[in-house]
Amino acid sequence: MTHVSDSRPSPTAAKVALTASAAAAAGLLLFPLATLGRGFDADAVLLHLSGAVLNFSGNQEAPLPPTGTVLALGWATLALTVASVVGALRRATWFWLTGLLACLCGVAAVLVLGQGLGAETARIAADTTLRPGLRRQLRSFYTGGGMNLGLFLPILAGLITAGAGLSGRAAWWERLNRLRGLLVPAVAIALAVLVGAVVVLIVQPAVNNSGAPLGLWRGWLAKSDLVYFVYSTLFAPVTALNPFLDSLKLATPLIFTGLSVAFAFRTGLFNIGAPGQLTVGAIMAMLVGVYGPSSLGWALLPLSVIAAGAGGALWGAIPGLLKARFGSSEVINTIMLNYIASALFIFLIGSNTFTFLGREYSLPLKAEGFEPASEELQVPARLPTLLDLFNVGQNGALALTVAPLVALIAYAAARLALRRTPRGGLIALGAALLAGVLTWRIGIPAQVIGSQLNASFLIALACVALFGVLMWRTATGYALRAVGLSPRAAEYGGISVARGTILAMTLAGMFAGLAGTHYVNGGALDEYRLKGNMPVNVGFDGIAVALMGQSTPGGVVAASLLFGTIDTGSVGVQRLANVNRDLVTVLKALIVLFIAAGGFLNRRVTDPPPPQLVKAEGGGNTPPAVAGLSPSVAAHERATPTPTVTLSSETNKDVTRGGGQ
């Protein structure tokens, strides 16, 4: 069955490899190869493949690391990339090898460069004749260096080429085919990055502190370096622990709102109301947290969290109810409720008195002071930071417990071992809990300073689990998904669409409302209180997150992490005058637009007809067919998101399912 006559890469794969390699080869020549150092204003010393060193920095005398080896490796990369182009043109079976080598060559160049820069830094550190200020300046000058577009592109293109070339082999094809769901988000991100790069190229003047005038060529290199600098700063938080924890902190509310939008998507509803639900959730959490009886003690925290969920659920239930009962569009209603929630928010914490029919009433929810904000939460209602939660070090020493990690490993191992046992999941969960409790006191010392990541991140993860279990492991979830795929068929199957609509919007609202705990109970607004600067826009970002995560729990987490990362990185980008954080907003909007358009990919690429159909049509030129349908592919098919599902793809899926049985 798995017989594949032609093990050469398919024409499509060859075309992909050709484009990637050609772009990388052009990039090697057109862009700077590496950055040898970077100053505080993003002024850089650039190295080009030709060996030319362009110094745009104010510091013209800084000694630079030797670049001979890097250049040689750069030329080798170029040769390998060109070889890949030739191989892809002839659809050769070997071009994955040249692609892989080009990638490795590029990585080697980056490593050699990093070594050279490291040597310079060490020399600076050992040089006692320098002033401390100058030494610090020089050190950050060298640590700002690294690869540039000229090396980044061939590394990336090499990976793509290798993947495309390997897809000619059946085993690899199937392995890659499993990742097909990532295609649309990946292409959408790439396109958004490309458009954003053009915006930076147009909008942003080149940074040149050298004083020498820029010609056309030097100006181009300086500007393209700027593009790379902006993006490498945006994605920088993944490279170090502290900014990574910051991005987790920014990702937390996105997980909540992303789950909210995704949950509604699954039921065929579009929840634009996450900002309003979040606001009401935060208000409720504040009301309980501040005004709840302090005699409740520790119970105040769970009550406050529940209040947040209930507030959001209420705000989500209203449009659900209106849709089920009166058929009015949830899209408009959720938007209107956003405005109403925002008015309510300002009303409650904006002023302590209000006039009604000419009489003055007092509603003292606002704290003293100029800023619109509520009183501080009582101490028991506050969520601890994860640092406090996981720190088992004594006497102020910092040591993070290994328990979560051990528990995770234990769970995975037990799950794998008990794959075929009924209730294996529950047993694995118990084993994980036991392992976690036993290893709680064991800690590893860590270098973390003042991370504000709070326990609402754990609540978010619990919501992720709840989403997954509810949607795919319960009858309710089955009914909800049925309503999402085809309301009429669900109705015929005895499922109440009205009930599904109300339930889905209520739960979606609850997810969004719980995001309020991050801001209020978790102190993410720098204080444990409700404040006027609550970023309700994360509710809209939830749409992007849900779309990018294909409305799956894991996808939502991954997309939230990405967005949290670039949000954190955008703070670094702001160091540059004129490049503002709104560029990140534009990038996110473009990602949504491009995902909505299916990455402008052909439908046959994103949602290919199942092999059985292709065989029946006698279509010979499609990629090597995987006979039968592997469980993973079938699982993936089930997981495709509902919002962009159209008639034709639905038919495809039905056929797939029929054929798979």
């Binding site: 915006v199 909008v203 942003q204 579009f270 634009i272 209106l322 009166f326 058929g327 009015s328 569009s329 899209v331 408009i332 209603n333 938007i335 209107m336 409720l337 405005y339 109403i340 008015a343 309510l344 300002i346 009303f347 904006g350 209000f354 006039t355 009604f356 029919l357 000419g358 003055e360 826009n537 809209f540 749409i543 992007a544 779309l547 004129n578 503002n580 709104d582 560029l583 990140v584 907003t585 534009v586 996110k588 909007a589 473009l590 949504v592 637009l593 909505a596 358009a597 299916g598 402008f600 919002p643 962009t644 159209t646 008639l647 034709s648």
Partner: protein, 304 residues
């Protein structure tokens, strides 16, 4: 209470009222063209913002050389940019068959970021443009002096009604939204009709934006649309996708907005809550229109 009525019967209130109706009316009629062709246009709010921005930027750029002629070209620029952005929505939702609500939301998200980037690049401030010296002229008498888009809006109601019900184009547009398959079999180019409907909606919403930035104020400020696009979308639904219905609904919503502006200065109700009133009434209005006479093919991409 008498004080309130005395306040409502002034020419100042009438002027506020008309100024509130105009952007709603223009945007609502724009949405009418788009939705009658079968394309949901939730992007109207973003289109207003882009139109307002383009109007202000074009006027500011042309002012030194053209003087009083500049705002007219600014109007043109706002309409064209509105049309262009709507064209993006059209391409994504017609050619690439994207979910139209999501595509529209993406345009709205764009309108939250792009103006700030452009304003920063041009004027160094991310929230507002400098003031234009030559805003659109005001025509009329006494307190009832309005810029040309106001008169244009009233004219557009009649033109829209005539085009929709008395021209072959209108017939084809309606057919495209009701039954694209049948329209196609009669030789109507469904895609082209939809493109034209969506682009027209952008032109009109862009004009509404121009009215806000250089017809009513004299600069672009952040969040200039303040949700007008969504209210006019509700007005479109409330008005049953008919030109005169849209006129009636926008008059109602405009009255509520003017009322909330006027009430904001009194001690009858808390102004922050009054600001929420139009949205609350929109929800209630939608209850009563409920399952209404939407174009049957609204939101469905054409197969084949």
């Amino acid at each position: 209470m008498e004080g309130l009525f005395a306040q409502l019967l002034t020419t100042a209130f009438l002027a506020t009222f008309i100024r509130s109706v105009v952007p709603l009316l223009l945007t609502g009629l724009g949405g009418l063209f788009s939705e009658r062709s079968g394309v949901v246009n939730i992007a109207l709010d973003g289109l207003i913002i882009f139109g307002a921005l383009a109007g202000a930027v074009a006027t500011l750029t042309l002012e030194p050389s053209l003087g009083a002629l500049a705002p007219w070209l600014g109007w043109l620029a706002g309409a064209v940019v509105g049309g262009l952005i709507a064209w993006i929505h059209a391409v994504v939702s017609i050619k690439y068959r994207a979910d139209q609500v999501i595509s529209g939301t993406a345009i709205n998200l764009l309108s939250a970021g792009v103006p700030a980037v452009i304003l920063t690049a041009l004027y160094g401030s991310s929230t507002e443009s400098p003031k234009v010296q030559n805003a659109l002229p005001l025509w009329g008498v006494g307190e009832l002096r309005f810029s040309p888009p106001v008169f244009f809006a009233l004219l557009t109601v009649l033109v829209t009604w005539y085009v929709l019900y008395r021209t072959p184009y209108g017939l084809r547009l309606r057919a495209t939204g009701e039954h694209p398959g049948a329209a196609a079999s009669m030789g109507v180019n469904v895609r082209r009709m939809r493109y034209s409907g969506v682009i027209l909606s952008g032109v009109l919403a862009g004009t509404a934006g121009v009215f806000l930035s250089i017809g009513n104020l004299d600069s672009y400020v952040r969040n200039i649309s303040a949700g007008l696009g969504f209210i006019s979308l509700a007005a479109l639904i409330f008005g049953q996708w008919k030109p005169l219905g849209v006129l009636g609904a926008t008059v109602l919503f405009g009255f509520l907005q003017a009322l909330s502006i006027t009430l904001g200065g009194t001690d009858l109700l808390p102004p922050t809550l009054v600001a929420a009133l139009p949205y609350l009434i929109t929800i209630i209005a939608l209850i009563f229109t409920g399952r209404s006479a939407a174009p049957r093919a609204l939101g469905k991409p054409l197969d084949g």
